[in-house]
Subunit: 482 residues, 2 copies
């Protein structure tokens, strides 16, 4: 059976057995079983436990061998010393795909490594492919199948996530949810004793539900294969990787966490670039770059126009963009003329645009979007401000102020719609960031932006980072186009 067939089964099994099912609330074998039952659809769910006859209303079986029907996928949560016996049962039963949640294997060294080696041997001889060990397993947002005991809320979408750490994976899911990202599949790959990171991305490259691949990586077991796959995939689907274990101590910690050996960071960095893989420094960036790749067209170059709500923001945004190696060229004469007609004569009369006390309006943004001397626009502040209007007003004016805010918000939404149309027409990325640090990113305008997959980023630095990754990826794709 080809790996892809195993993985097809993995993400949408018709029947699944939980080996290590438990009636004790809080245990893996309880949490996972609860979720399997409540999201079973037409899937057969079998609870395997040789000490209890019934768990959560399900009749149990002493072994996976005792299950009457076929078992597409076995999820295993038994203690590590019992793993080999369970895997032998799976082989006998004809189970072809397994998810081994159990930890205490190669990541612990010694006995753990020996047990993991044994497990690999039994599975290989028996034709079983498995995820893990030392992982959370997988979910498929479209089929509804999930082996996760605890799962943050997830939207359906076209982003696949492969994570060598369970908790980092959950961080990506959690922050992704907040940023409006929708997921297709999630794989917590753990120690990757059998199925490797490379197997998953090869599968996801062909998965029609997946348009973007995010990865949290501590070490690549098949570095060369990864790079070859990536070189091919990134032409069609972007891959964004957060590589952890970059430092001496981090790398050592990675070994005792997911048994991953990570090589020299600078070498990897260069190799990733050559294959068009986008690298993120943090979990936040991994998600934020993902959001931008889905919602923004790629820039044609690195020339950025900045529209700020005020001077400090203009300076900070310029620093952030320059630190990312991006350019702030002069604006075209036509744009200058248009801005002159909108803003008071105090404005900065150049790029970055600082209105110097004037209220920034979308009218200032439109000429910047249309200006062909820049490839992208970074907007700092001003957007979504209507939600916070006014900073202060006397209590006796509440009704007046409330209706004024509503009017302003309506006007802003209207302008935003026009802006979104223009962005689509000009095929130019426009990155919106809040101007006031810590300002809410969940008002009506922010929600409209998120719906259009143009999110409101929390700082000019975050916006500049995202833009820089888009520029690099665009440069990579354009560099050897025929």
């Amino acid at each position: 059976m080809k790996p892809n067939k195993h993985l097809d089964q993995l993400f949408n099994p018709r029947s699944v057995a939980l080996v290590g099912a438990s009636s004790v609330f809080g245990k893996w074998g309880y949490n996972i079983l609860s979720r399997l039952i409540s999201s079973k659809n037409n899937r057969e769910v079998y609870a395997i436990n040789d000490r209890e006859s019934e768990i959560l209303g399900l009749r149990t079986f002493g072994s996976v061998r005792d299950v009457p029907g076929p078992v597409d996928v076995a999820i295993v949560t038994v203690p590590s010393p019992d793993l080999s016996a369970v895997m032998r049962d799976c082989v006998q039963k004809g189970v072809k795909t397994a998810v081994v949640i159990t930890s205490g294997l190669a990541e612990c060294g010694g006995d753990g490594s020996r047990l993991e080696g044994e497990l690999i041997g039994i599975a290989e001889r028996g034709g079983v492919r498995f995820v893990g060990p030392n992982c959370l397993g997988v979910f498929d947002a479209h089929s509804g199948f999930s082996t996760l005991g605890f799962q943050p809320p997830v939207r359906k979408g076209n982003v696949a996530l492969v994570s060598q750490s369970g908790n980092s994976g959950q961080s990506v899911l959690n922050y992704g949810y907040q940023m409006g990202l929708g997921f297709s599949k999630f794989i917590s790959s753990g120690n990757e004793a059998d199925l490797h990171f490379e197997d998953y991305i090869e599968y996801l490259a062909q998965d029609r539900r997946t348009g973007l691949i995010l990865g949290y990586v501590e070490g690549l077991r098949e570095g060369r294969r990864f790079l070859e796959l990536a070189k091919d995939i990134t032409r069609r689907k972007p891959i964004v990787i957060m590589k952890a274990g970059r430092t001496d101590v981090g790398s050592r910690a990675a070994r005792s966490h997911s048994a991953a050996l990570s090589g020299a960071d600078t070498v990897l960095d260069a190799a990733l670039k050559q294959c068009g893989v986008i690298r993120a420094e943090t979990i936040e960036e991994l998600v934020e770059v993902g959001v931008a790749l889905l919602g923004q067209p790629l820039p044609r170059g690195n020339r950025v126009a900045v529209l700020s709500m005020g001077g400090g923001m203009a300076v900070t945004a310029s620093d952030a963009l320059r630190n990312e190696g991006l350019e702030l060229p002069p604006l075209s004469p036509a744009t200058m003329e248009k801005l002159d007609s909108i803003l008071s004569n105090r404005w900065s009369r150049g790029n970055p645009v600082d209105p110097a006390g004037d209220f920034v309006s979308y009218h200032c943004l439109w000429p910047l979007i249309e200006d062909e001397s820049t490839d992208a626009v970074l907007v700092v502040g001003g957007v979504g401000m209507s939600a916070g209007f006014p900073g202060w007003a006397p209590a006796r004016m509440k009704r007046f102020v409330d209706s004024m805010r509503k009017t302003l918000e309506d006007a802003e939404i209207e302008s935003l719609e026009k802006t979104l149309h223009m962005m689509d027409a000009c095929r130019k990325p426009v990155i919106f960031t809040v101007g006031v640090t810590g300002a809410a990113t969940n008002g009506r305008v922010a929600k409209r932006l998120a719906k259009a997959r143009r999110n409101l980023y929390a700082s000019p630095e975050a916006g500049a980072r995202v833009l820089s990754r888009l520029v690099s990826y665009s440069g990579y794709l354009g560099s050897d186009e025929v």
Copy 2:
């Protein structure tokens, strides 16, 4: 009159005149007047406007000269061409201190520079000292005096903020409020035509309400004086500076924003270090370092123990600390023994502490706080988790789960109290960070932490940055102690 006398008046005037008072909602002259009236205490408030006889229920005067009583502070919002005449009136009236909000001066060059020069001459000859122009002015949280038209909510406290940008200043106030920081005074210094950044920090050094100075700087007009002052002040009160305009374009933008000339960034960086000034890269960091300086003891060295909730977090935190130049030494044998007795044999058995699937409890934290082979602890995840318990549970178990969460939270708060006591006793910084990216930082436990000024930071990277600044500052203070 000595500058300090002017500044005493500035922060708590008995009488104040707003020159440029307006009855048009939304104008500076309206917004500022509204606030002055509603927070007047026993202050006399005079509205100056020569076209209307009454504004917001106040009788107006045609000029500051017409005010019957004395005027301690004049706030000026008239258009730039009218500034000279207003300043002459102030001189004639005997006003000694002014706040010039008006923009369109040196930051615009040309005519603006000429007008600013004129203003300086009139004030100097007349013995008037002034804040601005091109600024928001000041507030004093203790006296209640504020010249801000729009002001984010502010807590009283001992942090003073001097910002050369009004909107960056408001960002600091806004994020500071979210992070529980309390402020003493705020100065939006604008173009600093007369009173300079240096004058303000000299004053704040002696202000008994101020224990910590935060600054947003685009350029220092008296660099040498600043460094001399800082060298003295940082022995007693920490100074944290975000220097913007670090790059070529950022520096150019700074010139057209606050008319500030910023020098070579690397030179400044070295000079700041030599004077014990802590440098922040972003607005977020400025606030976060401030919070840590107030709530945490200074570390004795750069050796950090990491307690993580899981492997990915351990790796990420190690990378973040190493990138900041901090060490993760081995734990003492006594600590290892204690952790062995608490955690399963799967734990990482070293620093960083990765429980490998076990739930981390405060019992793991206590030996790390007491371990004398480390100078600080970085906690990643696990803290405040009870608020989110459980990730998922069947609806029918809601009541059971709610009561369980309450029990867990109570237990966590109890453990936290013991932890806070221990932190005080050991005089060791313990930085708490969320493990799951985007997780809430406002649960019961997070609130208790914030109350004790030990905040819950949003990422291991943020925690590592803060810790690194504490280590540097501590090193500076210790380096030439007699």
